[in-house]
């Protein structure tokens, strides 16, 4: 929202146009670029972008940092794997299992959320970490999850030259849906309550906002998308093994992407994913020592929270607003000792 009503409509219209343009570009991308390495990275990026947007819907808007979303990602992966094997599915029909992956993740998120959301913010982080360990342990030890060797995906039965395409388009669809959900939530009454909870939960409660249902709803929505992303990823890479389906680096990656782009903004996680994931994949390809990406990711995160704590997009928006304000000659307003700068609201 801007301070001048007229501009708001133009801004909104412009934003929608830009979004459509981006989607159009992304849609034709695999037709234009056929290099398998590139499209593989692209699919991976789409999966992580969806996961980052999903994570942001909960953690970004509510301020409760979850380091356990890998639980939903892995659950989604295993759901698709187990269901595909049990119902003997392959080919395109496996994609139909994605909603199921989302559903199972959602079902799991309800009891987890009810337990975890009752406590203070940083105990919450610790609890999500604990849930993560439990999930990984369960996946390793339970027989119906295939134990430490995990589950294999059915082989896709389409053309090898455009192998990545179906995954790409499903991923794109998921990302678009996730972003649309994030945008809807942000502008809605529900989203307002969520963000008020982030700023001052007690005061919000005193004004009639009910924290638990609101937080839980965001948690569940976030889990659904993350679960679906996990399901897609499982089919794409062909297997689900405990330490990769439930990978601590997953959560750190998603967190870094969201923070980098701008926690709690709409496009922040997207931007973060679009920059960081391809970079990470490229590094893994060229420097086979995978531990390097761990170190770099950690270092990048530290750099972000120490140097650019609000992320790229809010900082950029602020700089642009400051530039604009300096260009216009600002007349002396009411004599308030420290005049508050009319900054732009985060996009």
């Amino acid at each position: 929202m801007t301070t001048r009503p007229g501009n708001g409509a133009i801004q909104r219209g412009g934003g929608t146009l830009a979004a459509l343009a981006v989607v159009a570009v992304l849609a034709v991308f695999p037709l234009a670029v056929t290099n398998a390495t590139v499209t593989t990275i692209a699919v991976d990026t789409l999966v992580f972008a969806a996961a980052a947007v999903a994570w942001n819907i909960f953690s970004g808007y509510s301020g409760y940092i979850s380091l356990g979303h890998a639980v939903f990602f892995g659950t989604g992966a295993y759901t698709v794997g187990i269901a595909a094997r049990a119902w003997h599915l392959d080919g395109d029909t496996v994609f139909a299992l994605l909603p199921l992956a989302g559903g199972v993740a959602a079902a799991l998120s309800v009891p987890l959320g009810l337990i975890a959301l009752r406590v203070r913010r940083h105990t919450f982080v610790v609890i999500t970490i604990a849930f993560f360990f439990i999930a990984q342990l369960a996946a390793t030890n339970l027989s119906w999850t295939g134990g430490s060797s995990g589950i294999l995906a059915p082989s896709p039965n389409w053309d090898a030259t455009t192998f990545n395409d179906p995954f790409y388009y499903v991923g794109l669809a998921l990302l678009v849906a996730a972003t649309a959900a994030s945008w809807l939530i942000r502008g809605s009454r529900f989203g307002l309550q969520l963000r008020a909870i982030r700023d001052d939960e007690d005061r919000a409660a005193g004004l009639g906002v009910r924290p638990m249902p609101v937080k839980l709803a965001a948690f569940v929505i976030s889990a659904i998308v993350t679960g679906m992303a996990g399901g897609l990823w499982f089919y794409f890479i062909g297997q689900a093994i405990p330490q990769f389906a439930f990978d601590p680096l997953f959560d750190l990656s998603v967190v870094v992407m969201a923070f980098f782009g701008g926690l709690g903004t709409l496009s922040g996680p997207l931007l973060g994913a679009l920059i960081i994931e391809p970079a990470q994949q490229w590094l893994t390809l060229h420097y086979t020592n995978e531990y390097l990406s761990e170190i770099l990711l950690g270092a990048l995160f530290l750099a972000v929270i120490l140097g650019l704590p609000r992320g790229v997009i809010p900082t950029a928006a602020e700089k642009i607003a400051a530039l604009r304000a300096r260009r216009r000659s600002v007349p002396a307003r009411e004599a308030v000792p420290q005049a508050g700068r009319a900054g732009q609201a985060a996009p």
């Binding site: 940092i65 982080v125 970490i129 604990a130 007690d202 923070f259 761990e294 950690g298 929270i305 120490l306």
Partner: protein, 293 residues
């Protein structure tokens, strides 16, 4: 069977002493800085690797090596706090500090992988495998020495906290940072030193862990931190006595469950954690009911 149970209890208590030491460090950091040092697990592993390096490459005895590793870990702790935690400002400080610690943990893990590789190593010494015959049981020497050392360290910590001026500053800061500042306590220094102490104890914990774990590698940090977290949440965040009690309780419980089923023994920690969170989130001795903030 009865004999096994007594043995398990003895092992549990002795092992618990060491976990207690690491957990106390963690809860101390929480009490003073209000952050959860999620890197504590990997720092224990780092301590273990430091002892390993001294032992294997310089042939320094494990316990003697502590004279080097403890100060070294102290310095590392202070550095981490000073560089990555102190600069964090703003309303989300607590969460950001936790995330910063998470990032540091992953960096350290990566570095350890690069330097030492993924292979399992052990700390060895004559007293690691020898044991003493006491009351009809065989108690491994290393456990006894380690327990004694842990007790000595906790006693030293207690003396530091309750008998020195610095300790008073720490306790004051734990209660009210602003008030502490107002009476002239250099809160930044207290924070840095406390963090350093909290990490320094991981040197001892690391050596013990390395000697008794039966093999460790950089990946071992996850298991450790999950146990430590379970311990301090059960004991109550910020309660040193709680950390002690919870540590001994948990390791004993695990040792007992281990008799019946080794695979599920480690689950004891998590089950206890979830139960605590559902029934009484503030833990056994924690601060007032942890209300969502």
């Amino acid at each position: 069977m009865g004999r096994q149970i007594y043995e398990a209890i003895a092992d549990g208590i002795l092992g618990g002493g060491v976990y207690a030491l690491m957990a106390v460090g963690l809860t101390l950091i929480f009490g003073v800085l209000d952050i959860i040092n999620i890197a504590q697990g990997i720092l224990v592993v780092l301590g273990a690797y430091l002892s390993y390096t001294l032992s294997v490459h310089l042939h320094i005895d494990l316990f003697v090596g502590l004279l080097i590793t403890v100060p070294a870990m102290f310095v590392i702790g202070v550095a981490i706090q000073w560089l990555f935690i102190r600069p964090l400002r703003g309303r989300d400080r607590a969460s950001m500090s936790l995330l910063a610690a998470y990032a540091v943990a992953l960096i350290i893990e990566g570095v350890l992988y690069r330097v030492f590789g993924p292979n399992y190593v052990v700390l060895t010494a004559s007293y690691v495998t020898s044991s003493v015959h006491l009351f009809g049981f065989y108690l491994p020497d290393i456990y006894l020495y380690g327990f004694a050392l842990a007790v000595a360290c906790v006693a030293a910590l207690y003396l530091l906290l309750y008998r020195t001026r610095f300790g008073r500053s720490v306790r004051a800061t734990m209660q009210d940072q602003t008030a502490a500042r107002l009476i002239g306590i250099d809160v930044n220094r207290v924070a840095a030193v406390t963090f350093g102490i909290g990490v320094a104890v991981t040197a001892v914990g690391g050596m013990m862990f390395g000697a008794t774990s039966g093999g460790f590698n950089p990946n071992s940090g996850y298991d450790l931190i999950s146990r430590l977290l379970a311990i301090i949440i059960l004991g109550g965040l910020g309660s040193i006595g709680g950390a002690l009690a919870a540590a001994v309780f948990m390791t004993t419980a695990e040792a007992l469950v281990d008799i019946w089923s080794p695979d599920w023994a480690v689950v004891v920690f998590y089950v206890a954690l979830v139960l605590v969170l559902v029934i009484r989130p503030s833990g056994l001795f924690g601060r007032a009911p942890a209300r969502a903030q």
